[in-house]
């Protein structure tokens, strides 16, 4: 408190900085409480590892032993393979179904039923059908990744502005042109929201697949550490997943910003100046 007062007297930190300081103080206070509680014997360190033990585990699995890198690589390559395959399929089918009213009507009951089914639950079935190994893991991830992009693309395509659709029709646009120039661009924010859900689901999907198959990957690592009651290392793996989850979240936000550039002022200006320049270079004079 005295330190904070000193800084304030020096005309120092803004409200924001002071808030960050309080946040840090509360966080470290909680961590210290945990550590002290464990050392004093209120918390069983066998089940609730000490913060210092978790830090030591981080050091061990990343540096001295370095075994997490391999498992991370295995899991993340599965996540991206399954995510791309599943979401491309989802977006494609969503656009296809959305454009055709009859198909939509007949598909709807199945979609409702599938939505109520916990999709990750199909994991054991897929493993039994496709065997142990990479194929069944990717199939599981594809399945959990498929649904959100599919539904979101579908609803994005259905909810296209009637007047704009009318305009496209009166200009004599073909079905493909309507899809490319109007429907997909309008649906992109919703599709991106679906992609974000899908990527998160993919991370859960790979974990479930690895919990069941138990051969390699971060899920297997967490399971093994927990079974050996090495809780500190299990927690280090989980915090790694938190970091990955956070990166995915931020990455998707940036991607969303770039792809749906017309949604924000700066992006719109950037793209339109670039296009104007490209157009001017192609020969046309720019009328200002």
């Amino acid at each position: 408190m005295a330190v904070a007062a000193d800084i304030a007297a020096a005309g120092g930190p803004s409200l924001r900085q002071r808030r960050m300081l309080t946040h840090a103080a509360i966080f470290f206070g909680l961590v210290a409480l945990w550590e002290i509680g464990s050392r004093a014997g209120w918390l069983d360190p066998l089940f609730f590892p000490r913060p210092t033990d978790i830090l030591a585990s981080f050091w061990r699995i990343y540096v001295t032993q370095g075994n997490i890198w391999y498992h991370l690589f295995v899991s993340l390559s599965l996540v991206f393979a399954g995510f791309i395959a599943g979401s491309v399929l989802g977006i494609g089918l969503g656009a296809l179904v959305g454009m055709n009213a009859t198909v939509r009507r007949f598909l709807q009951p199945y979609v409702i039923v599938l939505e109520a089914t916990p999709r990750i639950a199909v994991a054991p079935l897929l493993i039994a059908a496709l065997g142990f190994g990479v194929t069944s893991k990717i199939a599981i991830i594809m399945l959990v990744c498929f649904f959100a992009p599919f539904i979101n693309t579908l609803s994005g395509v259905i909810n296209v502005d009637r007047d704009r659709l009318e305009l496209m029709r009166s200009l004599g646009a073909s079905k493909l042109q309507t899809l490319r120039k109007l429907v997909l661009p309008e649906a992109i924010p919703v599709i991106m929201a679906g992609e974000r859900l899908a990527l998160t689901a993919a991370l859960s999907g790979v974990l479930v697949a690895e919990f069941i198959q138990r051969d390699k990957g971060i899920g297997t690592l967490i399971l093994t550490y927990t079974r050996n009651l090495n809780m500190a290392s299990a927690f280090a793996c989980i915090f790694t997943l938190t970091a990955i989850g956070f990166l995915i979240f931020k990455g998707m936000e940036v991607l969303d910003h770039r792809i749906a550039f017309w949604k924000n002022e700066a992006g719109l200006r950037r793209v339109s100046t670039k296009r104007a320049r490209g157009w001017a270079e192609k020969g046309g004079a720019v009328h200002v």
Partner: protein, 280 residues
């Protein structure tokens, strides 16, 4: 009478094409397996699945124990997760500084795949129902928290103005303006939460359990009894549908003003009660 018949006829006409498509698809599937184009070990015939469902639900009746255990795990987990989420969201909406200090932890919890906690939760809560309830609660927390908080925070300046000009107290603003305005979003969150709670219960059952639909499914899959496995999957769908539609029903009763038919029914009932109470 003829009206009722007309209504029934209307439904038959609407449902008939759907049923025909379904029957056609099942017939093609049946034929593909029977002709040996699809291996029956991997993808069983529809008739085998129906036979399995019949066996599990009628002749053996062995599914009910598993069914209700999974249902109970999902519901209890949901109640705990939703209770904590709503309590935290309400406190956050009432106190700006409380919100500031809770939100970062909620966000961290959100970006962590909750399923990663499965082995640890099992180590903490044991092999019984406790660990399934705990995982269900953890998984359903965030959507409910976020939706409730967003709902409570959204404000309509005009309505606020109206409440202020009538001299409403802080408490009245909260209970009669904020909460009703938040309910639709909150229910959307609760519906998502129910689905994720079911996922939590089932995944925890896969990892380690002695009873539940998830166990039944994993067991039959690994003994290559795919028909029973799919029957178990259909049971999960049934649980999901039961949970979803009970929440939908609750939504319909509580957030009555969003549907015209319910709206007029409720206002008519209120008008009658008012007329009975105060007279002419």
């Amino acid at each position: 009478m003829s009206d009722a018949l007309g209504k029934a006829g209307f439904w038959v006409v609407r449902l008939l094409p759907h049923l025909m498509v379904l029957t056609g698809l099942l017939a093609i599937w049946e034929w593909l397996v029977a002709a040996g184009i699809i291996t029956s070990i991997l993808i069983p015939r529809p008739s085998a699945i129906i036979a399995s469902v019949f066996r599990l639900y009628v002749t053996e009746g062995s599914i009910y124990e598993h069914f209700f255990i999974t249902l109970a795990e999902a519901v209890f987990g949901f109640l705990i997760g939703a209770g904590v989420a709503i309590a935290l969201a309400v406190s956050s909406s009432l106190s700006e500084s409380f919100a500031r200090y809770v939100t970062p932890y909620a966000v961290v919890l959100n970006v962590t795949p909750g399923i990663a906690l499965t082995p640890i939760i099992i180590a903490w809560f044991g092999y019984g129902m406790g660990s399934k309830i705990a995982l269900a609660a953890v998984l359903c927390f965030f959507p409910i928290f976020v939706n409730t908080l967003t709902g409570l925070r959204q404000t309509d300046p005009d309505r606020e103005e109206l409440f202020r000009s009538f001299g409403a107290t802080q408490r009245q603003v909260f209970t009669q303006l904020r909460v009703p305005a938040a309910l639709p979003l909150m229910f959307a969150g609760l519906k998502i939460g129910l689905t994720t709670a079911l996922i939590g219960a089932v995944v925890a059952e896969f990892a380690q359990a002695t009873a539940g639909v998830g166990v039944l499914m994993a067991r039959s899959s690994f003994s290559l009894d795919m028909a029973s496995s799919l029957a178990a999957l259909l049971s999960m769908t049934l649980i999901g549908l039961i949970l979803f539609y009970s929440m939908e029903l609750l939504d319909d009763r509580i957030v009555f003003w969003r549907r015209d038919a319910r709206m007029s029914a409720v206002s008519r009932a209120r008008a009658r009660a008012w007329a009975d109470g105060t007279g002419k």
